[in-house]
């Protein structure tokens, strides 16, 4: 096995629609090492699913090449298919089919014998808290159960690399946390390389060793969650003060804080960024008291990936959910 599990070189995908050509992915380069959990973070419609579909042989790239699990995407797609697992955003089980039959049939499509398929399936059911659901119709499973079944199916042929498209979308907080534990376990217990997409900052932050931030078809940033957070200049400090007439005094005090960004004032709220916000706060507050300005609120906020995304793209991830791609939503 090579050290690099995925090597994408200039992958690009253009869709032809009635309105003209849409460039969904504008040439992405990246590598994923064996044993890593790498996250593709971006808003809906950023090109995450399209990239994933190219890497899993579902979609032919308009341009560019990639080596996936040691095989070239264009010249040996079957070699790639043999070695990867793929869990689509909307899953891949028939609602009428029984869970156990779906996973066994799926395993057998990889040429695995029935007995081995049953064994692998049962082991995964146990590992992913799906015990007792073998004979249940997929439509009767809860959202979290179905998602874990999807993941079990993606793993039943024991691939070295698994692609998870929006693994926790639509799940309640408890199921999400539970799922994250399982995904981390794939890497820790089985050495599986995981490549996932998400539009959740917390998911990328908690789960991923490395993050690729994608926006409008391009990778706009990459690094570990900590590196990305450090790229945002410091902590955000928010101070509430009494009396709008004190605004200019407050602004002067803030601009004297060492290494702080240009202060922003909105009504009786002051905001600025500074490295080690908690450390500069006592001095700042002493100044305020000396000038006889009452404080109404103090908040120091460590940068999140939300802030990273906002800094990089000028847009918040949450706002972006408004322009949800309907096709992606339906899938």
């Amino acid at each position: 096995m090579t050290e690099k599990m995925i090597e994408s070189r200039g992958l690009r995908r253009v869709y032809k629609t009635r309105a003209g050509e849409v460039e969904a992915v504008r040439g992405v380069d990246f590598t994923v090492d064996t044993g890593e959990i790498v996250g593709f973070l971006g808003p809906n419609g950023a090109g995450k699913t399209t990239t994933l579909q190219m890497l899993t042989t579902l979609l032919r790239p308009t341009e560019g090449t990639a080596t996936v699990a040691g095989f070239d995407l264009a010249s040996d797609p079957v070699g790639v298919r043999r070695r990867i697992g793929y869990v689509a955003q909307g899953g891949g089980t028939d609602p009428e089919a029984r869970a156990g039959e779906e996973i066994v049939d799926h395993a057998r499509m990889y040429g695995i014998d029935r007995d081995v398929a049953v064994g692998n399936g049962e082991a995964l059911f146990a590992q992913l808290d799906l015990e007792g659901l073998w004979k249940r119709q997929c439509k009767t499973l809860s959202g979290g159960q179905r998602r874990r079944l999807d993941i079990a199916m993606g793993l039943v042929h024991q691939p070295g690399l698994v692609f998870l498209d929006e693994p926790s979308t639509g799940l309640d907080p408890q199921s999400r946390a539970n799922l994250w534990g399982h995904i981390a376990g794939l890497r820790d217990d089985m050495g599986t390389t995981v490549f996932l997409t998400t539009h959740y900052m917390d998911e990328a932050d908690l789960l991923c060793d490395r993050i690729l931030v994608i926006d409008e078809g391009e990778i706009v940033a990459r690094g570990t969650p900590d590196e990305l957070k450090r790229s945002v200049q410091g902590d955000s400090v928010t101070i509430g003060f009494a009396g709008a007439e004190n605004a200019s005094t407050v602004a002067t005090i803030a601009s004297n804080v060492e290494d702080a960004s240009e202060p922003e004032i909105e009504g009786t709220e002051l905001r600025f960024r500074v490295p080690h916000g908690a450390g500069v706060l006592p001095g700042f507050l002493r100044e305020m008291v000396a000038k006889d300005i009452d404080l109404t609120a103090v908040e120091v906020h460590r940068p999140t990936l939300d802030d990273v995304f906002l800094t990089l793209t000028g847009r918040s991830l949450r706002e972006d959910n408004v322009e949800t791609n309907p096709a992606e939503q339906a899938a």
Binding site: M54, T56, T57, L58, L59, R60, P61, L73, A74, P77, V78, V80, R81, R82, I84, Y86, A88, G90, G91, G92, T93, D94, P95, E96, A97, E101, D105, H106, R108, M109, Y110, G111, M153, A330, A331
Partner: protein, 253 residues
């Protein structure tokens, strides 16, 4: 070998899901019986009309129904495929190394089994109502129906995968099936038709299939009519499977 194994795997999964749906099994069994009991009696008096083709009413009528069953039983299977695509099953299977052809053929085979079983039920019921055919004639007639069903099922899957929308799929299939059915003499023989209509029907491949099965059912097995029926369905199968497989391959790397 791998291809056959994969095809059988897709086939057994599809058949299992079909059989487990009791509503479809009941409809599937009663549909041919309804055709026979509710439409058959109308045809007996027609058989005495001048211009009625050779053979008795049942020998003309049952082959028409068989072809109708093959057409309608198979042409709409694409609906199921769109549902499968929507639930992610198709993509999930396309990410496996299984050959694209097996993903299509396994499903087509299921439809062939369903249509042929329905055809058998139809013929057996018709035997009780007065149809006179030999076992060999039934066998050959059903073979044509099986091929016909296979070809239409393959095309239906291909079109469904291309359109991926029930709203686009339904009118298209209806729009094609209706003229194909009316111009083939399935319900009333084309020997009743005025010249222009009969000429038009000669351009419809289904005409030869219907005529072929009719010839077989009156015992004219080694005839050009029967051979033409076979030849047409064989060509349709080849075209259908080629087209359907292309659609399953489409877009992927």
């Amino acid at each position: 070998m791998t291809f056959i194994r994969e095809t059988l795997l897709v086939f057994s999964r599809a058949l299992r899901l079909s059989i487990r749906n009791p509503v479809w099994v009941i409809i599937g069994v009663f549909q041919p019986i309804l055709y026979l009991t509710l439409f058959g009696p109308l045809l007996e008096p027609v058989a005495n009309t001048p211009g009625f083709p050779p053979g008795d009413a049942w020998q003309v009528f049952v082959p028409g129904l068989l072809v109708l069953l093959g057409l309608f039983g198979a042409a709409f299977v694409g609906f199921g495929l769109i549902a499968e695509w929507r639930s992610g099953v198709i993509d999930r299977m396309r990410v496996t190394p299984a050959s694209r052809g097996s993903l299509l053929l396994g499903r087509v085979l299921r439809d062939v089994v369903v249509v042929t079983t329905q055809g058998l039920i139809l013929v057996i019921t018709a035997l009780f109502m007065g149809l006179e055919v030999t076992a060999l004639e039934i066998l050959i007639g059903l073979a044509i129906v099986a091929l016909l069903g296979g070809s239409f099922s393959a095309v239906s899957y291909g079109v469904a995968l291309k359109l991926k929308s029930e709203d686009a799929f339904a009118p298209l299939v209806n729009g094609i099936l209706l003229p194909v059915m009316l111009l083939s003499g399935i319900l009333l023989p084309m020997s009743f038709a005025p010249g222009w209509l009969e000429t038009l029907s000669e351009f419809n491949p289904m005409t030869y299939v219907v005529d072929g099965v009719r010839a077989i059912f009156r015992g004219d097995i080694m005839t050009s009519e029967a051979a033409a029926g076979f030849a047409v369905t064989a060509v349709l199968v080849l075209v259908g499977v080629f087209f359907g497989t292309r659609m399953f391959k489409n877009e992927s790397a």
